[in-house]
């Protein structure tokens, strides 16, 4: 609307200012600020449209179905979750229990260990994935085979985590697993499978996660590498920097934002996906790999203590939401450079 009326206004303004002055051939052209910046009081007719203005209700009705469905599958269950966490819930019988579900939690060693193990598991996965993933991206970037190799690396990500868990379970097997044979032949492991002893089971799980999801980090890093400004690299080289120095002081700082996103995403996924862990160890041996989501699964769907499960789920959910808040903030900071 303003665009359409703009030329008219300024044209009219110039005319009025010209009329009031004597015609002087040699003068410094003088344009007072007031003319350019201030709207001239003139009756400009609004451009008329044959269409009615778009009503907000149009957008509202477009949004309503999705919001309704989402409310039914997220807000409604959320209230149920709070309700359940305050009760003893059995199939067909619900009883108020004076916050017992929550009071018991701090003294529940498996709950506390669950957090520790979750942190441990995430830390190991992330460290390995970031190091290997970034290195792979650097090795791949700009090579002739980049396209083919990236496509090859993508394959594990398309696999159902459960199937991946099954295949690795087979490979790790103490009597007929090929990876077990390999590890044994290299002298790393004894006769016991990697999943069978409490010390190594976690490493076994981490390897599966690394196998499946490192390519994601590689992909993200590759996308980031394409956006590292070449002129900065060049300027740095003209100043006599070695390739290594170039990497540390130009490439890496440019990669940080993307890597941060990658880390956050993988971290959240470690909370979300426990499919392969359920198959591989189910939390065992003992409780060595019972990270919190696995413990929650066990409490809720193995022993069907849904009230207790809801209490744990509520805490887990709150932690995730806080993490999500951080993640969204990171995303938003990314926005300007996205274009």
């Amino acid at each position: 609307m303003t665009d359409a009326t703009m030329p008219k206004t300024s044209g009219a303004a110039r005319k009025t200012s010209g009329n009031g002055r004597n015609l002087d051939l040699f003068r410094v052209r003088h344009i007072p600020d007031s003319v350019e910046s201030r709207p001239v009081p003139m009756s400009v007719t609004e451009p008329t449209s044959l269409n009615k203005p778009v009503s907000k209700s149009f957008y509202f009705w477009l949004m309503a179905p999705a919001i309704l469905v989402l409310a039914f599958i997220s807000i409604y269950p959320f209230f149920w979750m709070i309700y359940m966490s305050l009760h003893d819930v059995d199939i067909g019988h619900v009883e108020w229990n004076n916050f017992a579900n929550f009071i018991k939690l701090p003294s529940d060693s498996r709950f506390l260990m669950g957090w520790v193990l979750l942190a441990e598991y995430s830390a190991m996965c992330l460290t390995l994935q970031i190091i290997i993933g970034v290195f792979l991206a650097l090795a791949l970037n700009g090579t002739r085979l980049e396209k083919v190799l990236v496509t090859t690396l993508l394959m594990p990500m398309m696999m159902a985590p459960l199937v991946a868990g099954m295949v690795w379970y087979f490979l790790y097997n103490g009597t007929f697993g090929w990876y077990h044979w390999l590890l044994q032949s290299l002298g790393i492991l004894g006769a016991k499978s990697i999943l069978a002893s409490a010390n190594t089971a976690m490493i076994g799980l981490v390897l599966v996660d690394v196998w499946q999801w490192t390519p994601l980090i590689t992909l993200i890093t590759l996308a980031g590498l394409k956006r590292v400004p070449q002129d900065q690299l060049e300027a740095n080289m003209v100043d006599g920097a070695s390739p290594f120095r170039n990497f540390v002081s130009v490439t890496l700082p440019n990669l940080y934002p993307v890597l941060l996103i990658a880390i956050m995403l993988r971290f959240m996924d470690n909370f979300r996906f426990i499919d392969s862990i359920l198959v591989l160890t189910g939390g065992g041996p003992g409780n060595a790999t019972k990270i919190l989501p696995v413990y929650l699964f066990e409490v809720s769907f193995k022993f069907f203590k849904l009230g207790r499960g809801a209490a744990i789920a509520l805490i887990l959910l709150i932690v995730t939401i806080i993490l999500g808040k951080i993640l969204v903030r990171v995303f938003d900071r990314q926005q300007p450079s996205k274009v």
Partner: protein, 292 residues
């Protein structure tokens, strides 16, 4: 203006790096492909052949792996006797249904969110995205309870609704970014030419159609690969492929040949789909934060 290629001179360090990276790359590709290869081969092996291993430290004995007569009996067994055709159908319906519901409702919602501003939009948005990020196990506890009361446990509609918990927010979030990239001026121009609001919306659909198609595929992928919902919400009547694969593990005898065959059946279509939408994969998997 910098030239496109930065010329770097060979130093001993960079040479070493190149060699090391080539070796590492080769190693990593093998490590990536090997489990898939083993799965594929084992699905054609008879039970005893799959268990053949060389002695510890006997490196020359690796050839044992290729020493078998291929058989398709596991695949036959799966579909003829174990009802995998039903499970395949369940998987297709559940994944496809939830993807369709999510993307249709999601694109409508995403379009509105991209075109108007209102108070509390940021909060609405955060609610949507946190629904997606919530741990599946945590969401499942109350969802299971509700679905039990509504008799939705073990039914396909129940499973579709359950998958929608993560697919719908995903679709809204991603597609909003897509609609943001379509200038509103196009719709304005349409309306100046006399189109109604709805017709103007229809006019920009071809611009976003490839993206919408790709995200339908991604939603299918997420739903297809899910196991937790399938195992709990779908238990009984609506077993999908991953849940059925898991059930082949019996305490007494584990049917490895069949499991591997089921793995191949579950994995191959998704790998194919992944390649089809390769262009949108990074955007999809990073929730739109990174673009290739």
């Amino acid at each position: 203006m910098a030239s496109r290629d930065v010329i770097q001179y060979e130093t001993p360090l960079s040479k070493a790096f190149r060699w090391f990276s080539a070796v590492f790359l080769a190693f990593y590709v093998v490590w990536t492909v090997l489990p898939l290869f083993v799965m594929f081969m084992s699905s054609f092996k008879d039970l005893l052949e799959a268990f053949k291993l060389p002695a510890v430290g006997d490196w020359a004995g690796v050839t044992v792996f290729f020493d078998f007569t291929p058989t398709t009996k596991h695949y036959y067994e799966l579909f003829a006797h174990l009802g995998f055709s039903t499970y395949l159908f369940n998987s297709l319906v559940a994944a496809g249904g939830s993807a369709l519901v999510s993307v249709v409702l999601g694109s409508m919602c995403a379009y509105s969110l991209s075109r108007i501003d209102f108070k509390g939009k940021g909060d609405l948005f955060f609610w949507i995205i946190s629904t997606r990020m919530a741990p599946v196990v945590a969401v499942m506890v109350p969802l299971y309870w509700i679905f039990r009361q509504l008799d939705l446990v073990g039914t396909l509609p129940g499973l579709i609704l359950a998958y929608t918990t993560f697919n719908l927010p995903f679709a809204i979030w991603i597609l909003k970014g897509f609609f943001d990239n379509v200038p509103y001026a196009i719709e304005e121009a349409q309306m100046v030419d006399g189109a109604t609001r709805f017709q103007a919306l229809r006019a920009i659909l071809p611009l976003v159609a490839p993206g919408i198609g790709a995200f339908i595929v991604l939603c299918i992928l997420f739903a297809w690969n899910d196991y937790l919902f399938a195992a709990i919400i779908g238990s009984g009547g609506a077993k999908t492929l991953p849940a059925a694969t898991r059930e082949l593990v019996q305490p007494q005898n584990i049917q490895w040949g069949q499991i591997m065959a089921a793995g191949v059946v579950t994995t191959l279509p998704m790998m194919f789909l992944g390649l089809v939408i390769r262009k949108y994969l990074v955007t999809g998997l990073t929730m739109g934060a990174v673009k290739e």
